[in-house]
């Protein structure tokens, strides 16, 4: 197309009946995704949204883009496959905290090692929403939401610190109800080359009566527990990726911040580094793969005679 098309957030809205609970924080995350896509003017047909299973898993159905609502805990391998098949797509993986850090923890860890260029958004509500509010892996020891019979006796994991140790190259945290800021994080994540990980604090008014809008948006300092890292002069960026000292310092700084909780909870980008993506590494080995999407290569005319002759 020769003309410049202007996409607005509305162009990413699917004409589908939404059955999240009224007031669910997921609405905010959905809007932020749509708004980020509009900011970046990515044509809807160039976007693939890939989710696991959960309330969060229904997200693709609400986005006007190629949508894949896969299996519980498997959005990351799916997204990786999709992206490696077609490097011209903007791939967004989305899913719940149970999906991503519980059953999907192995993929969360190992995806961090790969650095394929896509963005992963976790809708972190500290509960298993769709199965009626059991504790998720982000719920801390001793904590009890109204849907639990007893307080959690396992420790909560720290997704940001986990992402650092797994090797993610863009690590951020957003808040579902600050749609504008979240949209800017998602847009930055999409722009980042490599796997971007964004943990989003998501309210679940139905099951999580602790981490509510009221809780987040009240607190000692200026009426909110949440504060923006970038507003404090925090610099998440590794400026010289070849400088091991700087890399470690920035990782350590991110881990340290990630343990802040309670009265002051940071949101924003915790860590960012420019490293070759998986696609870059592949292209080094196989240059054609750096130029064209695999889906566009005609691989049906290969000459295998040399392989056969080698067997004689």
């Amino acid at each position: 197309m020769a003309t410049t098309v202007q996409f607005t957030a509305k162009d990413y809205k699917a004409d589908t009946h939404n059955n999240w609970c009224p007031g669910c924080g997921d609405f905010g995350i959905l809007s932020a995704m749509q708004s980020a896509l509009a900011q970046l003017q990515i044509p809807p047909h160039r976007v693939a949204v890939i989710s696991g299973i959960g309330c969060s898993g229904k997200t693709p159905h609400y986005v006007h883009a190629y949508g894949f609502h896969t299996l519980h805990g498997r959005s990351l391998p799916s997204a990786t496959g999709m992206r490696l098949a077609n490097r011209d797509l903007t791939v967004l993986a989305v899913g719940g905290d149970g999906d991503g850090y519980g059953i999907g923890a192995g993929y969360f860890v190992n995806t961090g090692r790969r650095n394929v260029d896509f963005t992963y958004i976790v809708m972190n509500n500290a509960v298993y929403g769709l199965t009626k509010g059991q504790a998720s892996p982000t719920l801390g020891r001793g904590v009890k939401t109204k849907s639990m019979p007893e307080p959690a006796i396992q420790d909560g994991i720290n997704p940001i610190a986990m992402a650092v140790s797994a090797g993610y190259t863009f690590i951020a945290r957003g808040y579902a109800l600050d749609v504008k800021y979240l949209a800017s994080l998602i847009a930055a994540g999409i722009r980042h080359r490599g796997t971007s990980f964004i943990d989003v604090l998501q309210t679940c008014p139905t099951y999580n009566d602790l981490m509510t809008k009221e809780w987040f948006e009240s607190g000692p300092s200026n009426g909110s527990r949440l504060y923006k890292l970038d507003a404090t002069g925090y610099d998440p960026k590794v400026h010289d990726p070849a400088n091991a000292g700087e890399v470690v310092a920035k990782k350590v700084q991110a881990v340290e911040r990630s343990y802040e909780w309670g009265n002051r909870i940071p949101i924003g980008v915790f860590y960012q580094i420019e490293l070759p993506t998986y696609e870059d590494m592949l292209a080094q080995r196989q240059p054609i793969l750096g130029q064209r999407a695999r889906v566009d290569l005609d691989l049906t005319r290969r000459d295998v005679t040399p392989l056969l002759d080698a067997l004689r």
């Binding site: 699917a14 589908t16 044509p43 809807p44 047909h45 160039r46 693939a48 890939i50 299973i53 229904k58 693709p60 159905h61 006007h64 883009a65 190629y66 949508g67 894949f68 609502h69 896969t70 299996l71 498997r74 391998p77 799916s78 997204a79 990786t80 496959g81 999709m82 992206r83 490696l84 098949a85 077609n86 011209d88 797509l89 192995g106 993929y107 860890v109 190992n110 592949l282 080995r285 196989q286 054609i288 793969l289 999407a293 695999r294 889906v295 290569l297 005609d298 691989l299 049906t300 290969r302 295998v304 392989l307 056969l308 067997l311 004689r312």
Partner: protein, 617 residues
């Protein structure tokens, strides 16, 4: 004796290089105009356990191994005597397996005497001073380092010794040895050849004259045939079929195929990803299939068990694939990771919870591995469902001799693709007459669709409507019937031999070679057999099978497993019980002799089920 059909065996500890030795021997045979067939047995271990390689060389092709071992080449004592002092011995060695008049090549430095051990005086015992000879060869070629670092040359010595016994032209062997050392390793060629010559002369002088067997002398072929094994045949076929993407997680015996593809990825614009586990493998593959490329993954039993949820999703979302290669091994659980069994058929047929379509095909030999691997990608695309190709450890590692591999008649068919048509009415799961909906792929303008592992409406959004549910189940499952009607019957099954026979043998997959040779053997007994070979087992060609079996006089099932899975499957679909079953589940493939014996016992005895196992190692 003027026997052309020679079986040669080399044994030694894992990691001592017997593969290369055996393959070098086999290649030399090819250069001598012979045809070879081979098999390796090894433990799930990196170094030290007993492994052995059998090569059957003849003037004609064979597709099964024989137990009539004419020469044993022992790199260590265990090859001869087993491990009798273990609490539960693994095996009792190969000495007693040697055919009357056969030869035994072993290390003269061994403390044990094989003749004393087995008491047989019909064998030709050839003690060869491996280390001594190595030292001589090193001296002769100016190698000065420690002998220990060159120990692997002793394999060459042992093999060359056996060649002398078998009166084989050493220069053919030397040729292959030289070809094996290229680049930096080229200087080793001379050492090995020198060592081979010494050993050859040593044995020729002392023992060869009295030896009863020899490799036949045939003209060197104008064009050397290929020595091909299943992992390579499948790999080549995948490349030819347009594979874009292979995922894998290491597991015996599946890894070989992926390693082969990895080695050739660069030259063929192929992407091979080693994943963190098999769940990642299958889901990455399903993602890529929806992404629009041809994709496959390869695994064996334990990995396959982990892939079921992903396979169900592929089928539910009507993804065009992936094609899953299931290289079977000894089960259940971790089982016998490096051994042979055909025991994953039932799981392949019901590869997940609930009811969903898939195609299950089992090639029986090299040609069929190529055809079925290739066509599987067409089926995945045409019918938008996963395909499972059942192969096994035996097919993967056994070398067959093949003159040519052609792709005649194999054409790429990507199925019904959606094309932008100016209209804004695309429904990914539209109900159509055939049940196939044209598919678009992400990136196509106008082709936006949704897909979910939940039940869905034509647009791909979740539905729980009772009426839609029925329609979409009918659509999804109905594609199985379509595939059954469209895929040529000749691809689904084959009846080998005369239509009218005394006995109909029934089997699938890697037993094909054994069964075909057994038919020949039984024919010599005056028994006319034919062989119903099942290839596509899902969708099951019920009518064709029933027709053949109803006509059959007596039927014998042959399976390399415990429970006769195909026999049960046939009865499930046709109600027909096969008369006799011959099974083998000791973790090894059928030998020619085992199958012949099994069939004779099955046909003459009382027992409906005969289990065979001759092997001791």
């Amino acid at each position: 004796m003027h026997e052309s059909d020679i079986t040669w065996l080399i044994g030694g500890p894992q990691g001592s290089g017997i593969n290369v030795s055996a393959e070098t021997f086999a290649k030399a045979c090819l250069r001598g105009g012979l045809r070879v067939f081979s098999n390796i047995e090894y433990h799930s271990n990196i170094m030290g356990e007993h492994s052995y390689y059998r090569v059957r060389a003849d003037t004609r092709d064979h597709s099964v191994l024989s137990e009539r071992v004419h020469v044993v080449v022992a790199l260590d004592d265990e090859t001869l005597y087993g491990d009798p002092h273990s609490e539960f011995p693994q095996h009792s060695g190969h000495l007693h397996e040697v055919s009357p008049g056969g030869g035994v090549v072993y290390d003269a430095a061994s403390k044990r005497n094989p003749q004393a051990a087995c008491g047989r005086d019909d064998l030709v015992y050839c003690p060869v001073p491996y280390e001594e000879m190595l030292k001589q060869a090193m001296a002769a070629t100016g190698h000065t380092g420690p002998v220990g670092r060159m120990r692997v040359v002793q394999n060459t010595i042992a093999v060359a010794a056996s060649l002398a016994l078998l009166d084989f032209d050493l220069s053919l062997f030397a040729e292959v040895v030289r070809a094996g050392f290229t680049g930096r390793r080229a200087p080793l060629a001379a050492l090995n050849v020198q060592a081979a010559e010494l050993a050859y002369g040593y044995v020729r002088e002392r023992y060869a004259a009295s030896f009863a067997y020899s490799l036949a002398k045939m003209p060197r072929p104008a064009r050397l045939p290929m020595m091909i094994r299943g992992s390579v045949a499948v790999g080549v076929a995948k490349l030819k079929a347009g594979l874009a993407f292979q995922t894998y997680y290491p597991i015996s015996p599946a890894t070989d195929e992926s390693v082969y593809l990895e080695a050739n990825a660069k030259n063929y614009d192929l992407l091979v990803v080693q994943c963190e586990d098999e769940i990642s493998c299958i889901n990455m593959a399903v993602g890529a299939a929806h992404g629009g490329v041809r994709v496959s993954t390869s695994t064996s039993g334990p990995g396959f068990s982990l892939m079921l949820e992903g396979l169900g999703f592929a089928a539910m979302s009507e993804a065009p694939g992936p094609v899953v290669f299931l290289w079977q091994r000894g089960g259940p659980s971790t089982g016998l990771p490096t051994r042979q069994e055909q025991s994953d058929l039932r799981l392949a047929l019901q590869s997940g919870h609930g009811e969903f379509p898939s195609i299950v095909v089992a090639p029986g030999d090299t040609r069929e591995m190529i055809e079925d691997s290739f066509e599987s990608f067409n089926w995945a695309d045409r019918y938008q469902m996963p395909v499972v190709v059942l192969v096994d450890k035996y097919l993967s590692t056994a070398y067959a001799t093949v003159d040519d591999v052609t792709f005649d008649g194999l054409n790429v068919d990507r199925g019904l693709l959606w094309q932008q048509n100016g209209q804004d009415d695309y429904l990914r799961y539209a109900f159509t007459e055939t049940g196939i909906s044209p598919r678009s792929h992400p990136g196509q303008p106008g082709g936006i669709f949704w897909t979910t592992s939940d039940e869905h409406d034509p647009r791909g959004h979740i539905t729980e409507a009772a009426d839609l549910r029925i329609k979409i189940v009918d659509k999804r499952m109905g594609k199985l019937g379509l595939a059954s009607r469209e895929v040529p019957l000749a691809r689904q099954l084959a009846l080998h031999g005369p239509a009218d026979a005394d006995v109909t043998l029934v089997g699938w997959g890697s037993t094909k070679g054994a069964i075909l040779e057994a038919m020949e053997e039984l024919a010599q007994d005056g028994l006319v057999c034919n062989f119903l070979q099942m290839r596509i087992m899902r969708p099951f060609p019920t009518d064709a099978v029933a027709e053949i079996l109803k006509r059959a006089r007596r039927t014998v099932l042959v399976e390399n497993n415990y429970s006769g899975q195909l026999g049960l499957l046939i009865r499930e679909h046709t109600g027909i019980s096969l008369d006799r079953w011959v099974v083998k589940y000791d973790g090894r493939p059928f030998s020619q002799e085992e199958l012949a014996e099994g069939l004779r016992r099955a046909l003459t005895g009382e027992a409906a089920r005969v289990a065979v196992s001759h092997l001791s190692a």
